[in-house]
Amino acid sequence: MTSRLRLAVIAGGLLFLLAAPYLAQVTGSAGLLGLANRIAIYAIAAVSLDLILGYGALVSFGHAMFFGLGGYAVGIVAFHTGAGEPMLGWQGSNAALIVWPLALVACALLAAIVGTLSLKTSGVQFIMITLAFAQMVFFVLVSLQSYGGDDGLLLDRRNTLPFIDLSRPTTFYYVCVALLIGWTAFCARVVNSRFGLVLQALRQSERRAINLGVDPFPFRLTAFIISAIGTGLAGVLWANYARFVSPDMAAWSKSGEFIAIVVLGGLGTLLGPIAGAAVFIALEQILSIWTEHWMIVMGPILTLVALFGRRGIAGRLFGERNG
């Protein structure tokens, strides 16, 4: 019964994602496509965060740093390429197949450093250290005067792909959805793999795992880096979607939003956070039309979910973790 419901919800969600451009056209509300696109991008970040938060119980309160770095990598390369100013002797490029992997490598490197330093700690200390690193990234971005400092950086145009025209909103949207589906499938594979078995064991009983021969650090670091790459990808897509990057992408409140989305959707469910992103972004849109202090309404909703909906949206629908 629950498994049938689960399938129905997944099919429904997928159908909505695929049909969003059509719905936007039919209803004549161009805003709907933008909304769906933001949901798809945030969902990639949420799925990535769930990998370490839900499956590894690593509460990173600094994941926005990877979102910001992914975005700025795209923004900075675009800035130099557009201005014809080489950086470190490189002419720059607009090709997504060059710029995007570059951005993701940057995120992986940052994650390797931050992870190495923060994963020696746990609990509240880990939360505080990841937050501290994210704040450092935030202030570095603010201080980059040549890249707009506080105000951020406008991009002239989106990156380019062979045969695929990313400047068309619908096309770009479908690329985001395809990446969301691919990334989620990859994460689901990781979670259920031999690696995932150990990662999940470390969450449930670190002591048990160590006494079975597991060295926790390399497993957690690997998961942390994968998670950062996914979040960086979301940042890359966001920069292309909005054609604008600003330090706010790396703000602590953004990290908080990501956590809120994962908790809202259901920790350790991967699909839950996608639903969480949909609900969160849609609510944000609706509430912010109504009042600029939309967080005053969102806050209590999240608190209620945290208190009563133990497993978030996915828990309500499916009753249990789907690993």
């Binding site: 793999s193 031999r194 078995l197 064991a201 048990r208 006494n211 079975l212 021969g213």
Partner: protein, 258 residues
């Protein structure tokens, strides 16, 4: 035959002059002890004597202040716990340590998977590894959980979780089993079943058994060491322990609390 060869072989575990103090409390006080291949060595002593603390040091979670621990002739005193475990330590905890969200068979699979420390393979699902599944099922059947393979550990009864811990320890094909009060909290029938299970493991593994249940200890042990206030006051066969006046006074005289 096992008797004879175990006499000649070097002990699988040798503890030499081990000492550990928590402030003024000396929890391990110059402990010297060995466990021979194929031997079931029981460690008894009143609450707070330092039995669990000794096991924690054997596994490396706690560093001793002084002394040495030799595993199969190799000095492991400074070796980190996960590396020590990979040498062939199988362990159960006084307070059960399992993965509550995993099913019984997943808990055993984890143990098989981590014999060498775990894999970074992100593609293959260990639940689809027929060989591992078969040997995990065998382990579960061995401890009497054959029918409960797909139950989440959290939903198992206390006694079943104790059995599962043993299956997890066995799945590593350990060279030494360290069992910390496997009968604690079990009813009389469950205790009897556990005693039978341990009797079946005897000789196949070297076992250090910490236990308050004297009937089980006397039925199973080859040798018994008595720990009081961190000190080993006596080591000998069951018959010797039973008749030793010092042990009777220190421990057996007042029936131990469980």
């Amino acid at each position: 035959m096992a008797e004879l060869s175990s006499q000649q072989q070097a002990p699988i575990l040798a503890i030499d002059g081990l000492r550990k103090a928590f402030g003024a409390l000396v929890a391990t006080d110059d402990v010297t002890l060995d466990i021979r291949a194929g031997e079931l060595h029981a460690l008894i002593g009143p609450n707070g004597a330092g039995k669990s603390t000794l096991i924690t040091q054997i596994c490396g979670e706690l560093k001793p202040d002084a002394g040495r621990i030799l595993f199969d002739g190799r000095d492991v005193t400074r070796l980190r716990p996960h590396l020590r475990s990979r040498l062939g330590l199988g362990r159960t905890f006084q307070i059960t340590q399992l993965c509550p969200d995993f099913t019984a068979i997943e808990n055993v699979l984890l143990s098989i998977e981590t014999r060498g420390g775990g894999s970074f393979d992100m593609v293959s699902n260990p639940r689809g590894n027929a060989g591992a599944i078969a040997s995990a099922r065998e382990r579960l059947a061995e401890v009497g959980l054959g029918d409960l393979a797909d139950r989440r550990a959290e939903t198992l009864a206390h006694g079943q979780r104790r059995q599962l811990e043993i299956a997890v320890a066995l799945a590593r094909e350990p060279r030494l089993l360290l069992l910390d009060e496997p009968m604690a909290g079990l009813g009389p029938e469950e205790s009897a079943a556990m005693t039978r299970l341990l009797d079946g493991l005897k000789r196949r593994y070297a076992i250090l058994l910490v236990e308050h249940d004297m009937a089980a200890v006397f039925a199973l042990a080859d040798r018994v060491s008595v720990l009081v206030y961190g000190r080993v006051i006596f080591t000998g066969t069951v018959a010797e322990v039973r008749s030793d006046p010092q042990v009777r006074a220190a421990y057996l005289g007042g029936e131990p609390a469980c």
